[in-house]
Amino acid sequence: MEVKKPNGSGNGSKGSNEWRVKVGLAEMLKGGVIMDVTNAEQAKIAENAGACAVMALERVPSDIRKEGGVARMASIKVIREIMATVTIPVMAKVRIGHFAEAEVLQALEVDFIDESEVLTPADEENHIWKHDYRVPFVCGARNLGEALRRIAEGAAMIRTKGEAGSGNVVEAVRHMRTIVSQMKKLTTMRDDELMHEAKELGAPLDLVRQIAKTGKLPVPNFSAGGIATPADAALVRRLGAEAVFVGSGIFKSSDPEARAKAVVKSTTHFEDAKAVLEAHEELGEAMRGLDVRQLEEKDMLSTRGW
């Protein structure tokens, strides 16, 4: 139960007060569900169902996957309408490395920016230097090294990448288990082993040393990518996710309102099987999922970014 205090974070953020309110907002979202929405009407459904935030985007990941083309930041008009409709925080996605899109979203005053592999990357080498912004960022990660590189760049929240738009939780599980076990390993290592481990992870030594001490990321650790049912949400929570993002799973199902509510319920009561059972009662069909083993490398969204 280590709480992120900026002074102890050792991440080199400029202006520690700024860092504190960024991580602070991430703390406020813990235990909740953040839902992908493409218009104000969906945002209202999400808020009424108990979502703790919404993510504004142009198309949900499963449609991006189907339709192809370049996926960019959502239309400003739509984001504005969503911001005017709900009182919960509004997040929006930018392409990896597209700092100009991020500046636009900051000027628009969205509450959180997701530098996301779901959109088509704008830069194949560099992610955004997120310390330069007052608005907090969330970034995806498949393993601890990737998570720590993003935190070093200024991400105030990490989420597993999972495989967005697949309706298949297997990648989110793989990524969460990987991050948690890599952190566990660090806590068992001697000081003189940490430099080598930092090199192997490709992560800054100060963050590696910090995790060796605390066993936790210095920012909240959420899960995303393929969560489609209440039990999926309970599963990733049990594996260590402090909150969940649900993308296509809600609005691509046969019953978005009921499903949104059910996922919120099971995310909070993730340790209570009876509550998760209740959440599953009377639900219709979940979105049709994809077997990620059938996906070709070029179709995998989680391999974007590094």
Partner: protein
């Protein structure tokens, strides 16, 4: 002494860390049964709309009001303060009506307006550090509501008998002053011989 922390959604862990540092036992509260045996209850920061729905659906709202009526100490921070207020605006929203005050949600604006500031308090000589995150403003504090700290001329920390509310997040600082004050309220209750919570444990 046991302090329950509403763990529906929000920064409940930050409160637990601070209370444990002060030697209090903590318990996460998600169902009415979890409240049994608690001397105090924290309503943490988070999203008040999300939390309120949960309280109403799980039957926790009535239980919390009864807990307060029996003298249980309650402390709400940010979203928790909104839940306690008798009158919520911007937009209007239902609440537990446990503190006679008018609260305006997201009164400073969106996240970009969130900040760390300080303001005068009666709890200690030095100003109190205040972390505001999409914070509300207490527009009106009713008669009998004591103002324990202010920011920019508005009440930021208030108390009425066994109930406390803050528009900021003392749990996100290293300063334990506010939580110590809350524990003194909970302790007073724990000592009462007619303590409903204690006798049931």
């Amino acid at each position: 002494m046991k302090i329950g922390i509403l763990a529906v959604q929000g920064d409940f862990e930050a409160h637990a860390t601070m209370l444990e540092q002060l030697g209090a036992q903590t318990a996460e509260v998600r169902t009415p049964a979890d409240l049994e045996g608690c001397d105090g209850l924290i309503l943490p920061g988070g999203e008040s709309t999300t939390q309120l729905k949960f309280l109403q659906e799980e039957g926790l709202a009535d239980k919390i009001v009864k807990f307060a009526e029996r003298g249980g100490a309650i402390f709400g921070t940010c979203a928790g303060a909104i839940l306690l207020a008798s009158d919520v605006r911007h937009p209007e929203q239902d609440s537990l009506h446990l503190m006679d005050m008018t609260v305006v949600r997201n009164a400073y604006g969106r996240q970009i307006a969130s900040d760390v500031v300080s303001g005068p308090t009666v709890l200690k000589k030095e100003p109190l550090e205040m972390v505001f995150i999409r914070g509300p403003v207490i527009e009106r504090a009713g008669p009998g509501v004591k103002v324990l700290a202010e920011y920019a001329g508005k009440p930021a920390l208030v108390q009425r008998e066994n109930i406390m509310a803050a528009t900021f997040h003392p749990e996100l600082t290293d300063d334990t002053t506010v939580h110590e004050h809350f524990l003194s309220l909970a302790k007073a209750r724990a000592k009462q011989p007619t303590n409903g919570g204690k006798s049931s444990s």
